[in-house]
Symmetry: C2
Subunit: 447 residues, 2 copies
């Protein structure tokens, strides 16, 4: 695509609509959307006005939020309305969600009556739920018709619907009774009744189910689409797998960022440093303030440090290793909670497991540190002190690192907020306390 | 499902095959697989032998690797062969990949001739490539037939194929010429020629494309399946979106774990602590050894610490804050590299951006720390020293944190291996060096 950009730009300076259409038809809408930022606003508008509404809308749906908003602000209202009428209802709802409320209220009355109704209905659902993800583009048929009439219905509607995997069979009050996979339609005699052909056991989700849960259902059943039902089991919409992929990527990004003590920045490369710093600095200040606590611990025990200066040499390695061990445990648990492998009730199993893991790793890390103390400082007692401090610190680190994310989740807070840096900061304090107290017990009194 | 487990177990003690089949038919295969571990081995075998091969295979495909291996070890060979013949070729290949080579070599000759060929072909591709992900279950038609004969072909084969989204149109040497979406088949006159109906521009992937790249293509084009072609553009297989969802989850898990300085443990809850500790301890030892460097820096400057004891109170907060700032930057870059937003050539843009972010955050964190030094220690010069050290340390932290993952990727190493704890450990040393040198410049000489 990128290689022929100059030719397209050239064409856009002319007014050859036909030639423009022809070149664009060689590409997927997603390809055009990918190079969108290479066009000037003028070129974008010309390109957009040269294309048929269906194709223009296909491209529009692949643009980023900023790019959509820019286009809407510059297109004539009549063209905007054409595009909005043509858009798939779920994508349109996502777009409305980012526009100012008063603008949406101006746009909706301009839509076709049918689309107005759909738009208002979908806008009523929360963005991160099944209702917010679903589209109202799907095909329902009554139970008592035969396959031939389903095919007829399908032929009438298929053109306007992007994805069709199943036909949904409903009773008189729109309650979902069964599904017929599209490929089964093709292999069934046209005379058979729908109710004899349909599958009556099939996965579905409720309107208010969280999108993360929806993604889990898709993963579990390996399906390409899922019907969404209200509490009375009436079908309200369909979620297709392409939207779920976006959800999975989005949730993974959110988890990774939070666990790294920052927030997702859309379009990092083009965002301003001030903007990005704002998202991070809150976390950094919290961590700095939490760091004061370990500073105070150091201050409190400073008499130890001034009488045994070598003690301070081991502070970085102790803090570091316990912080890392805690981060490791928290990583596994945060991810396990996200994928559903670890549940709230597993908390004691996790803590017990992490306790033993901590002992095993602590012995190894402790032995290495003791060896260093013995070789470089030539002080066996110092070596013993450091080793015992290391083992204790790591056991506490893995146990706390495994426990805190689960407690966060229990409290209804995103477990990923118990980030690596936060765990490390909390553990700094406990590690110092352990170190100094073991020093007092073993080393200081014999000094 | 879980609620009627006792009834199913009860049924399994009897020999009522029909009743068992009936109860199981009320559930999705994925639901049965979900409670699989609740059955004893005997119950598993009885259940499995009561079901028809097609359903047994559906359930089998949803089991975990361990559960599949357990069943295979205990089923009579004849049943194993039935299942293997029935499995979808891509799932079967994944299974073969975890079995010992000699067992696979014993099993393949027992398959039907057609399946043997497919199995050998798929096993030749690397697991993490498009070739390793694809299935050979798909439908091709020649260019010059009409839609009616495509429908005929479809009716003949649809039953054996899990997902059909497109029909693939090929020339005489099997080169892919176009695709026809299933729903278009339904809305097209049976007399039209395939070559007039097919879409000739469509996304596809090459056999050796990495699975992460395959996932990106699915996301970009919002498709439900993609054809896989060899270098001569001959169609070799089809990848369906359900497998891609698994890839996306897998890659996200891998990134999160590596970034947390550990490796993915399948089934954490049932793995032994020794096993898990083995995966983590290597990292911990590397980090501990790296921590010795910062210990040596402390040792080298210990004369400063013993003459100005208050200096040590600020070591934890400096190390902590710079480590966190570096982790934040690395998080964003590691994720950006994974999603494709940040590319190798963006390295200087990233570093420049992170440099400015570092200055902004450094000023704020520095001011807070200076304030603490001034209020609690009543020492303005100490406050200034700490503040300047903090700003410098954070600027270096964000710049290095943003740069190292890109350098790792340039070197062909997974950028997520530049984990949060590793960045923090590296930064400990630079932070201490900065701190002590600024102390010598500003504070020590005036002491």
């Amino acid at each position: 695509m990128r290689v022929i950009l100059p030719e397209i730009k050239e064409l856009l300076t002319s007014r050859k609509k036909k030639a423009i259409r022809k070149v664009v038809s060689y590409f997927e809408p997603a390809d055009i959307a990918e190079v969108w930022s290479e066009f000037t606003l003028n070129e974008k508008l010309k390109l957009f006005n040269s294309l048929e509404t269906a194709l223009a809308t296909d491209i529009f749906e692949f643009l980023s939020e900023d790019q959509m908003v820019e286009l809407l602000a510059n297109l004539p209202t009549s063209r905007t309305v054409q595009i909005l009428n043509e858009m798939s209802p779920d994508d349109r709802t996502d777009l409305f969600a980012i526009l100012p409320g008063e603008e949406v209220e101006k746009l909706i009355p301009l839509l076709e009556a049918e689309e107005q109704k759909r738009a208002r209905e979908l806008l009523a659902y929360k963005e991160n739920t099944a209702g917010g993800l679903m589209t109202t583009d799907y095909i329902t048929v009554p139970e008592n018709v035969n396959i031939a009439s389903v095919m007829q219905e399908l032929r009438a509607k298929a053109k306007d619907i992007d994805f069709i995997h199943n036909i949904y069979v409903v009773d008189k009050v729109n309650r979902l009774q069964g599904i017929i996979p599209l490929k089964d339609l093709l292999t069934t005699s046209p005379h058979r009744k729908v109710e004899r052909v349909m599958e009556t056991y099939f996965p579905s989700v409720g309107l208010e189910i969280d999108q993360e849960e929806v993604a889990r259902v898709f993963e579990k059943y390996d399906v390409a689409s899922l019907p969404v039902m209200d509490k009375l089991r009436r079908i309200k919409g369909v979620i297709t797998v392409d939207d779920v992929i976006d959800v999975i990527e989005e949730e993974a990004s959110e988890d990774i960022h939070r666990f790294g003590a920052t927030e997702v920045t859309e379009q990092y490369l083009s965002a301003s440093p001030v903007n990005i710093a704002q998202k991070r600095v809150i976390w950094l200040v919290i961590l700095a303030l939490a760091g004061f606590v370990s500073g105070s611990v150091l201050e409190h025990y400073s008499y130890l440090l001034s009488s045994i200066v070598t003690l301070s040499f081991f502070i970085p390695i102790l803090m570091n290793t316990s912080g890392s061990a805690g981060t490791q445990a928290a990583t596994v648990v945060v991810r396990g909670l996200a994928t559903g492998e670890i549940r709230l009730r597993d908390i004691w199993r996790v803590v017990r497991k992490e306790f033993f893991i901590g002992i095993l790793m602590g012995i190894i890390a402790g032995a290495i540190t003791a060896l260093r103390a013995f070789v470089l400082q030539g002080d066996a007692m110092l070596g013993l002190t450091v080793a015992i401090a290391m083992i204790t610190a790591i056991v506490i680190a893995t146990s706390i690192g495994g426990m805190l994310p689960i407690i966060f989740k229990k409290l209804g807070v995103d477990p990923a907020l118990m980030s690596g840096p936060l765990i490390a900061t909390i553990l700094d304090t406990t590690t110092l306390l352990i170190y100094f107290n073991i020093t007092i017990l073993l080393l200081y009194r014999f000094q």
